[in-house]
């Protein structure tokens, strides 16, 4: 038996939890006092990013319970959850690797979900954990609201109103709700009918989610 053998046995025992090893305040304070090598900074940044994602995911999960998925346009749902979770558009944009403007356009409905490339929409769906049935309903609501809003936008412009991209967020939200309401009054059965092009788009989203191994969202 020699020093190396004993040290290896001891370290193996500690690492398996079979030899008691306790950390004290003195030891930890001393570890923290020593400057860490700069080489570890890249690791540090990656862990910070992972933690940030976890915090955002937890905030989104909590916020999702407060926002109804029923008959709400996709963009408005994303906006409502994001705001309740206290996450900025820039943070969402960073997660899905798109410019902030892209998130804003989706939220406002300036960009219909069916016009968004499928991988980009799938990334948003993954961040917000939206399941396929809800996606279908929300995209249908987005399309309905966008189609209906076209009439009101034209009317507003002809009466000296601002361009839609110059109007405030609250006005846009109110207009969305109003447009959806009017749509439901005009076509009472439309809410249950999903347009064919929406179905086709959702099918592609399904394939993309399966590719991303997010089978939990396909249920």
């Amino acid at each position: 038996m020699n020093e190396k053998f004993l040290n290896d046995l001891l370290s193996a025992g500690i690492r398996r939890g079979e030899v008691r090893f306790e950390l004290t305040d003195t030891v930890v304070d001393s570890i923290l006092e020593h400057p860490a090598p700069e080489a570890i900074n890249a690791s540090k940044a990656r862990v910070q990013w992972k933690l940030q994602l976890r915090l955002q995911d937890a905030a989104i999960a909590a916020a999702r319970n407060e926002v109804s998925e029923h008959s709400i346009p996709f963009g408005r749902f994303v906006e409502a959850v994001r705001e309740r979770a206290g996450i900025t558009r820039a943070e969402i944009a960073q997660r899905i690797r798109k410019p902030e403007q892209f998130v804003q356009r989706i939220e406002r409905g300036d960009l219909k979900p069916v016009e968004v490339p499928v991988p980009d929409l799938a990334n948003i769906v993954c961040v917000f954990n939206i399941k396929i049935p809800a996606i279908r309903q929300m995209i249908a609501a987005s399309v309905a609201a966008a189609d209906e809003k076209v009439n009101y936008r034209a009317a507003a412009r002809s009466h000296g109103g601002r361009r839609h991209d110059a109007r405030g967020e609250d006005v846009e939200r109110a207009l969305d709700a109003f447009a959806l309401n009017m749509r439901q009054k005009k076509y009472p059965t439309a809410a249950t009918q999903i347009p064919l092009h929406v179905e086709a788009y959702v099918a592609k989203v399904q394939i993309e989610l399966a590719r991303l191994r997010r089978n939990d969202l396909l249920v």
Binding site: D8, L10, E18, L23, T24, I40, V47, L51
Partner: protein
């Protein structure tokens, strides 16, 4: 606080378990997340500081990681093959549990400071660092380490010679 702690936490996990940096990152992120989730369980003014509590979680997570790795079929126990070589290989084969229980018994006969000295050295901490934790000089730490080690080696050799005689 996370900023101050993170680099040291990753380094500690790497050193404690000889764990590769990407795995240490994953463990560090788990540690900080679970500390964040269960912060209400920490008792301020209790037996340890918050930082020590977090490092304890890190130590336990590293042990869990190593146990999990050891139970996976692809795992090859490098430590054992590396430590027990040549003539000793046959002598100690399959005796890991017995050896560890013998070691625990021997450690308990030493003073607590000497036990810690041996354990920290086994994990690769420097004499200077250990000496500052124990509040002694580096030379003193080396001498005490040598004495404690010799005591264990002698005890070990005595057991081995008994075993050989019985065989």
């Amino acid at each position: 606080m996370v900023d101050r702690l993170l680099s040291h936490l990753i380094l500690f996990i790497c050193q404690f378990g000889e764990i590769a940096e990407p795995d240490a990152e994953e463990i560090a992120s788990d540690v900080l997340w679970s500390a964040h989730q269960s912060i209400q369980k920490f008792r301020y003014g209790g037996s340890a500081k918050l930082t020590t509590w977090i490092f304890e979680i890190a130590k336990n997570r590293a042990i869990d990681f190593l146990r999990k790795a050891a139970s996976s079929p692809e795992y090859v126990e490098v430590t054992e093959t590396a430590s027990v070589s040549g003539e000793d290989a046959a002598r100690y084969a399959g005796k890991n549990k017995e050896l560890l229980s013998w070691l625990n018994e021997q450690l308990s006969s030493l003073r607590e400071d000497d036990q810690n000295l041996l354990k920290w050295r086994a994990l690769g901490f420097a004499y200077a660092q250990i000496a500052s934790w124990l509040g002694i000089s580096e030379v003193n730490a080396r001498v005490r380490y040598k004495r404690a080690l010799d005591k264990l080696i002698n005890a070990g050799n005595m057991v081995l010679s008994k075993d050989t005689t019985n065989e």
